[in-house]
């Protein structure tokens, strides 16, 4: 079973795609210097079987496509919510992004204005996680991305990609065409996920404007951004299942 990890110096949430976001483990970069820790590392660990590796990558690509579609639909679902549309069903037994968004309001109503932005409730958590999300997006445009492909724990290829496209790859020698093909695919997946992450920022901010407009917020969309981020993150979780 493949594993997809984003080792994220910003400690941000899992980006669109199959990735699990992990903090930098102490000393994990071996011989590399401390400054390397600032670079986000997208690591794909594939099984030894080529068939299984290809199937896992295909599943990851499908998962990313589904999540991209879910994120793209966020403004529509927010608008539907704002206008009483059908994004929320009657008494849905399970939480949905829409119910969670409104639960933020419920929490604020229940505990009073003084707790706004403080305490450990969902609002405060959303603000904190939104901060990490912004840092994650900032890093994505400030630093190169590193992409590593491992087969059964053995590193077979690495690439460093600047956001303007400059690309340096390091490959294991010899006739290892299969490794290289898998790395190309892993690299494409990571870069597509990075672009999806950036797009999701734009969508969150546009969503924030919708939420703020719904609320007639005098503070504008910025104050609504964490709630909008939480909504988009919930959409991703919904698709991930």
């Amino acid at each position: 079973m493949a594993s997809f990890e984003l080792i994220d110096p910003a400690g941000g949430p899992a980006p669109p795609g199959p990735w699990a976001s992990r903090p930098i483990p102490a000393g994990s970069f071996g011989a590399a210097g401390e400054s390397e820790a600032a670079l986000p590392l997208w690591r794909v660990i594939l099984p030894a079987s080529p068939v299984a590796a290809r199937a896992d990558l295909a599943a990851a690509e499908h998962s990313l496509a589904a999540q991209e579609a879910a994120v793209a639909a966020a403004p529509i679902r927010l608008r539907a919510l704002a206008t009483g549309g059908s994004a929320v069903s009657f008494g849905a037994p399970t939480a949905t992004p829409e119910t969670n968004l409104l639960a933020l309001i419920a929490e604020q109503r229940g505990v009073g204005a003084a707790s706004f932005g403080g305490g450990g409730g969902p609002l405060a958590e959303a603000e904190e996680r939104f901060g990490a999300f912004v840092a994650q997006v900032r890093d994505a445009i400030a630093y190169a991305a590193l992409v590593e492909t491992l087969r059964e724990g053995v590193l077979v290829a690495r690439s460093q990609v600047g956001w303007t496209g400059d690309l340096r790859s390091l490959l294991a020698p010899g006739p290892l065409g299969e490794h290289r093909a898998l790395h190309r695919r892993a690299l494409a997946l990571a870069l597509r996920s990075r672009a999806a992450l950036l797009r999701s920022f734009g969508i969150v901010m546009r969503g924030a404007a919708i939420v703020a407009a719904m609320a007639s917020s005098p503070a504008g969309a910025l104050i609504a951004a964490p709630a909008a981020w939480r909504f988009v993150d919930d959409l991703l979780r919904e698709v991930r299942g």
Partner: protein, 700 residues
């Protein structure tokens, strides 16, 4: 044959591409089977699988869907039920106004069904997440076997959106019962539909016995060419050859004739028949496309020049007929329409197509009923009595496979029953339910056989799977007990189509109503229909019946205040200092981000002048500290440097023994292609991020 390409109906109008690219039977079979084939893939509910098997067995033994002695077209024997969504306990029922608007229809059915009439309203309605079995048990009905109308009526009208009463529940209930769904945009539209059915059943509507089969055959498009020649043509011919159809005029409008203008004439215009059967692509849209809710399932006509002629560009509204195109002056009262088209009846939120590892794609922000069908049913001058169509994708493959075994009998039998036997549409659609039960049972066995190492032929397996999905997903929109209001064979029908009087009542939008779709500014607008009054937009101050949430705190719903929100305003209005503090913090975070974005964009201007791709090889990758840009110890094997002015420098890898290292060179060139694609994608993504940030700052 497993290598032959299969074509799927449905054109993505957002992108001008097929909704699903053609694939071979072997590829599709691999997707359907998935990594761990199980019967649950046919239906996750074991009770439902048992019911399907039972239904399939009943077919073999000649048993009927309703218990012995009950005549399926007599409501006094079959009964009739209406089911609304149940509101959460202690909250006002948002469907009270809809029920009132439907009162003329409910009164009519109460008179016809007598003691077998049932209303499942309020707490007796459908509860969120309920399975067919749970619902029937709660109603006191048996969950399997032939229907006993004394326990629960055979004809069942579901009233509500597919978010409130899911499509899956409709499919499941439809196996035993004759089920239809009514979900319209406005309360008044329900009143107009009720008035239409009452008018049709009280003798005020007498339609000429005319059926039209409409079939575009778009250039270079195998799907519509096959549906025109292998479905519509033989279907029309078969009905024409039927003795009982001698009093019918059966026409075919196909190929070049099957334009949007002609379809408009057949749906509300001068040529509107009693029964219209269309076979075409249904328009589908990306979930991010603002046209999706309004236009998904619209019927793509001959105006689309096909995949080659039009290319991969968004389809303008001129190529398809959508709900917007049915003008206020349309005369459609009494018609029954059958649309063979992807999404012709509705769209689920997640697609039904098989995916590797079970990942389902979100294809819409929420499930919804086709706006075209809604417009036809709830038309202000009197609506269609029923629209039969497909939820999700329809499959050309299911009526004609490469063995030459056409599967037209299901369509043919259903249409004969509607047209020639004068049967209620819900009963006529039982042929599809029978087929669904039969195929689901066979498919469940296939999955089990695969699991135990005896896979069926890919082609048969995929055919069975597509036919199963196809048969399952045909639904009736409208009252399943309606039938064609035909003039007696020996009586000349009125020259002009009857209409209903204006239905006067308050007209708030109903649950699940969506906003009208804005036209894309870069696309030609749909032709405006004279006198067409667009449905009013959903206003924020309207009491919205839909926003009721589970787990809402004891304080109940947020008040709908003067700001026109659902209580969100208070979130941002209250809090005083705390809000300011939060605002400052967020402002700081985002300002930092904006500065970084600005620096990045500035760097772009300097760095984007060239693109550099380097490929290194090292025997011990872990030893290279390449993250610091130091590739010491690694061997540089290939370089490509491309400048904005087109100058390109390449360093080609050589083998030790001479000659180009072709394998490495191939890897390197693919890396160059990837770098170019990534640059374009990243610039676009950063522009979107920046645009979103500025929009938020400007409050847009």
């Amino acid at each position: 044959m497993p290598d032959e390409l299969l074509y799927f109906n449905g054109v993505n109008a957002s992108r001008g591409a097929y909704g699903r690219e053609p694939m071979t039977a072997a590829e599709l079979a691999a997707l359907i089977r998935g990594p761990a084939p199980r019967g649950e893939q046919v239906d996750p509910d074991p009770e439902q699988r048992r019911l399907l098997k039972q239904r399939a067995q009943q077919l073999e033994t000649g048993a009927f869907e309703v218990k012995e002695g009950v005549q399926q077209d007599d409501l006094s024997q079959t009964g009739w039920a209406v089911v609304f969504p149940a509101p959460p306990a202690g909250t006002p029922d948002p469907y009270a106004a809809v029920r009132e608007a439907l009162a003329p229809l409910l009164d009519l059915r109460r008179r016809q069904a007598g003691p077998l009439y049932r209303e499942c309203f309020g707490p007796a309605g459908y509860r969120p997440g309920e399975s067919r079995g749970d619902f029937l048990k709660r109603q006191g009905a048996a969950t399997s076997g032939p229907v006993d109308p004394e326990r629960f009526p055979y004809y069942v009208l579901l009233v509500g959106s597919p978010e409130e009463i899911p499509f899956r529940f409709q499919y499941q209930l439809d196996v035993q019962y004759a089920v239809g769904r009514l979900h319209l945009e406005h309360v008044r539209a329900y009143g107009q539909y009720a008035a239409s059915v009452v008018a049709a059943e009280s003798g005020e509507v007498a339609l000429a016995r005319r059926a039209v089969f409409f079939a575009p055959a778009n250039p270079d498009d195998p799907a519509t060419r096959r549906s025109a020649s292998e479905l519509v043509a033989p279907l029309a011919a078969s009905l024409q050859a039927e003795k009982r159809a001698s009093t019918w005029q059966i026409a075919r409008v196909a190929g070049e004739q099957a334009t949007k203008a002609r379809l408009a004439a057949l749906l509300g215009g001068a040529e509107t028949p009693a029964l219209l059967f269309t076979a075409s692509h249904g328009a589908e849209f990306d979930p991010s496309d603002p046209r999706q809710v309004a236009h998904q399932g619209a019927l793509i006509c001959q105006d689309w020049p096909g995949p080659r002629g039009w290319g991969r560009r968004p389809l303008p509204a001129d190529f398809y007929l959508a709900g917007d195109d049915i003008g206020a002056d349309a005369r459609i009262l009494g018609t029954v329409a059958f649309h063979f088209a992807c999404f012709g009846a509705g769209t689920p939120r997640l697609d039904d197509f098989p995916h590797e590892r079970g990942a389902q794609a979100a294809i819409a922000p929420h499930a919804f009923v086709s706006r075209l069908a809604q417009r036809l049913l709830g038309h202000p001058r009197g609506g269609a009595l029923a629209v039969i169509g497909h939820v999700e994708r329809a499959w050309t493959y299911s009526f004609s496979d490469s063995y030459g075994a056409r599967q037209l009998e299901t369509f043919d039998s259903a249409l004969r029953r509607i047209m020639l036997a004068g049967a209620p549409v819900g009963w006529a659609l039982e042929f599809f339910n029978n087929r669904y039960a039969e195929l689901a049972t066979g498919l469940t066995e296939d999955f089990e056989n695969i699991r135990f190492g005896t896979p069926p032929d890919d082609y048969i397996f995929t055919a069975r799977w597509t036919e199963h999905n196809d048969a399952r997903s045909y639904v009736v929109l409208g009252d399943p007990a309606v039938r064609l209001p035909l003039a007696p064979a020996d009586v000349e029908p009125p020259a002009a189509r009857a209409t209903i009087p204006e239905v006067a009542m308050p007209d708030p939008p109903t649950a699940g109503a969506a906003q009208p779709a804005p036209e894309r500014p870069d696309l030609p607008a749909s032709p405006a229909s004279p006198g067409d009054t667009p449905a009013p937009a959903y206003t924020l101050t309207t009491p919205g019946p839909v926003v009721i949430y589970a787990g809402y705190p004891p304080g109940g719903l947020p008040a709908q205040g003067s700001a026109g929100s659902y209580g969100l305003g208070d979130l941002f209005r209250s809090g005083g200092e705390a809000v300011n503090e939060t605002f400052q913090k967020l402002n700081e975070t985002l300002r930092g981000f904006a500065e970084k974005l600005s620096q990045t964009l500035q760097t772009t201007l300097e760095d984007a002048a060239h693109l550099e791709v380097e490929t290194y090889v090292a025997s011990d990758l872990a030893a290279i500290a390449y993250r610091q840009g130091d590739f010491s110890g690694a061997e540089l094997r290939a370089v490509t440097r491309m400048s904005l002015d087109g100058d390109t420098q390449v360093l080609v890898p050589q083998r030790d023994g001479g000659g180009v290292d072709t394998e490495l060179w191939a890897v390197h060139t693919s890396m160059v292609a990837q770098a170019q694609a990534n640059r374009a994608e990243m610039i676009k993504a950063i522009a979107e991020a920046a645009s979103g940030l500025f929009a938020a700052m400007q409050g847009k």
